[in-house]
Amino acid sequence: MPAETTNVVESLAQLTLFADLTQPRLEEVAHTVGEEVFAEGQRVLRQGMSGGGLFIILDGEAEIVIDGDRRARLGRGDFFGEIAALTGDSPTADVVAATMLRCATVSGPELEGFLLEHPSVMFRMLKAEARRLRAANEWQR
């Protein structure tokens, strides 16, 4: 029987977020995260509604939409949903699949445990958040 060619482990291995993980650890992460695929136009996160989780883009692009306005476009390796999942608040934006979109996912209730289990992923995520915060501060000046 042929094995799968495009598997989640291989996709994760190519992303900065998981760059520090050993191969066994990467396989463990691949078995822990979910995989979801969205059709173009499908909503992934819903502004103002509870729930959600961390989404990491494996393939395709997504748009961040606030009150109907497109604000940003995300691509492979980008992640979203983590702020609402960490604070327990509802997402402040819609995230809509701009193309067919494949994501690795960690649900809200599982996120804290996932990050504590994988501190190198948490550190990479923190660095990305720091860059976002600096970009937002510079934009405000």
Partner: protein
């Protein structure tokens, strides 16, 4: 074999259902009841009941049917107590499972399940063309062409209830030398042997539990730790946790190991599994007389290869819209266990019960109505409601509707408040209700909240905007009391005024 009637010869149909397991049978029944006349049902098998004629290997299902319940067996409410019977519109078609159980357990054995499905086919007079194998599906200008061993079926849309029972193998060097769960064989074949089981989810634990009385040594190994919290809330815990329990209590002979498998090697007529720790540092070699790969199953999508069906879960399951249509191949619908590939709202990570009969039987009924209406133009008048009927109906649904309680966070009961009055829109996928435009309306659902508590939730669409209202939980799950009524009334005020 004596000559038997073979219905549905190749030709032109509105809808073709492929499969005669529970997903195919439920779809065929519901499509007929939704008014679809030009329907064909084909199956490669010779008899109904699909996977239950082969699996689970150790015979007993994990989903309950309670022969005795506080409600009548033929009532809609009984469905919550009976997760294995298919749905029927008429009392004589409902709640068939308990009639075939010997009641030594409240979960049926698979031959009991098979008998109940056979009885369903007899009672509902469903017709199926058996021995008709799907070979290839291609797109035509006005729909699909299903090439089968009996000839071509042309249709507008097709419902594929192909099951999720094909072996799925991970990319481990040497894995082809091991056997998969589906080829486990008889427990007695493992008498006195050392068995390495790769996989620590349902099928891995099912095998380990079943082999405890036979095998000399059992090691379960896979990268991810056992989800004890999930198992604790699962129907699996009683029968599958014993191997884990033996390991946790210490001792020798039963092991549950977190490790990634590097390769499987043939050694002296047996096997050596080379593994690297995931939650612990280091490497390990596990010797076994047998290696069984219990790494899960997939939908056999080979006949649909030409349509480029997108998948999830490492290629195991087709990715679907909230109405169970392939997200990449229009007109290709799925039924049965494969409907787990439609995620729905999945708030707080909770999935619906689409992997088992109790959940996907409702998906099939909603899908049948959707296909009849959207693809064939068979529109059923929505029952009109009076203003004073709204609150009692919504409260009763929140308290007892089996669709809401079983397909939590996926299916809801919707009412619309249009210019021609209040209409009962029936059971709908919540994701479509929330994301689609439409008239003022409410959808009521039962969901698992962030803290794991079960809560009633309302989605109120007013002036084109949908707001979510999470209502309070109740220790007895009584969602139809005075407090919930008062909150519901307040939330619906804009629609009822």
């Amino acid at each position: 074999m004596a000559a038997v009637e073979r219905p549905y010869p190749p030709g032109d149909y509105d809808v073709v259902v492929v499969g005669s397991g529970p997903g195919g049978l439920q779809s065929a029944y519901c499509l007929t009841r939704a008014g679809v006349e030009h329907l064909a049902v084909i199956s490669r098998d010779d008899e109904p009941a699909g996977m239950f004629r082969r699996f689970p290997v150790f015979q007993r299902l994990i989903s309950w049917t309670k022969p005795q319940a506080p409600v009548e067996r033929e009532s809609r409410e009984y469905e919550w107590y009976d997760h294995n019977s298919l749905l029927g519109d008429e009392p004589g078609h409902r709640g068939l499972m308990p009639m075939f159980m010997d009641r030594s357990f409240d979960v049926p054995a698979r031959e009991e399940m098979e008998a109940a499905l056979r009885a369903y086919v007899d009672r509902t007079t469903l017709r199926i063309r058996y021995g008709c194998t799907l070979e290839c599906v291609r797109r035509a200008a006005d729909g699909l062409v299903l090439e089968t061993s009996d000839g071509d079926y042309r249709c507008k849309v097709a419902v594929f209830a192909l099951g999720v029972t094909e072996a799925w193998l991970p990319a481990i060097p040497g894995v082809e030398a091991a056997r998969h769960y589906v080829d486990t064989g008889r427990p007695a074949d493992y008498d006195g042997k050392r068995v390495v089981i790769i996989g620590k989810r349902n099928s891995g634990f099912e095998l380990a539990q079943g082999l405890l009385p036979w095998a000399r040594e059992i090691a379960l190994v896979s990268p991810r730790p056992v989800e004890t919290a999930v198992l604790a809330h699962s129907a699996l815990r009683v029968r599958y946790l014993q191997p884990y329990d033996e390991y946790v209590r210490g001792g020798f002979g039963t092991y549950v190991v977190d490790a990634a498998i590097e390769r499987i090697e043939r050694v002296n007529g047996g096997f050596r599994v080379h593994a690297a720790g995931t939650t612990w540092p280091g490497k390990l070699e596990l010797d076994g007389d047998e290696v069984i790969v219990a790494t899960g199953f997939r939908t056999p999508l080979e006949p649909l290869a030409e349509l480029d069906v997108a998948t999830v879960a490492d290629g195991r399951i087709p990715a679907q819209t909230p109405f169970w249509e392939s997200i990449s191949a229009p007109g290709v619908f799925f039924a049965g266990n494969a409907t787990q590939g439609a995620r729905g709202m999945a708030k707080h990570g909770a999935a619906a019960n689409s992997t088992s009969v109790n959940g996907f039987r409702y998906n099939a009924r909603v899908l049948a109505g959707h296909i009849a209406e959207e693809h064939l133009g068979i529109r059923h008048e929505r029952p009109r409601l009076e203003r004073d009927e709204v609150l009692p109906l919504v409260l009763a649904e929140l308290a007892r509707a089996p669709e809401l309680w079983i397909q939590k966070g996926y299916l809801g009961r919707a009412l619309s408040f249009g210019s021609d009055g209040i209409r009962d829109e029936g059971i709908v996928p919540l994701a479509r209700f929330v994301d689609d435009a439409g008239p003022d309306a409410v959808a009521a659902s039962v969901e698992t909240g962030a803290d794991g508590k079960i809560v009633p939730v309302l989605y109120v669409r007013s002036g084109g905007r949908v707001d979510e209202h999470v209502l309070a939980p109740h220790p007895l799950h009584e969602f139809d009391g005075a407090d919930h009524r008062a909150e519901l009334e307040g939330r619906l005020k804009p629609l009822l005024s």
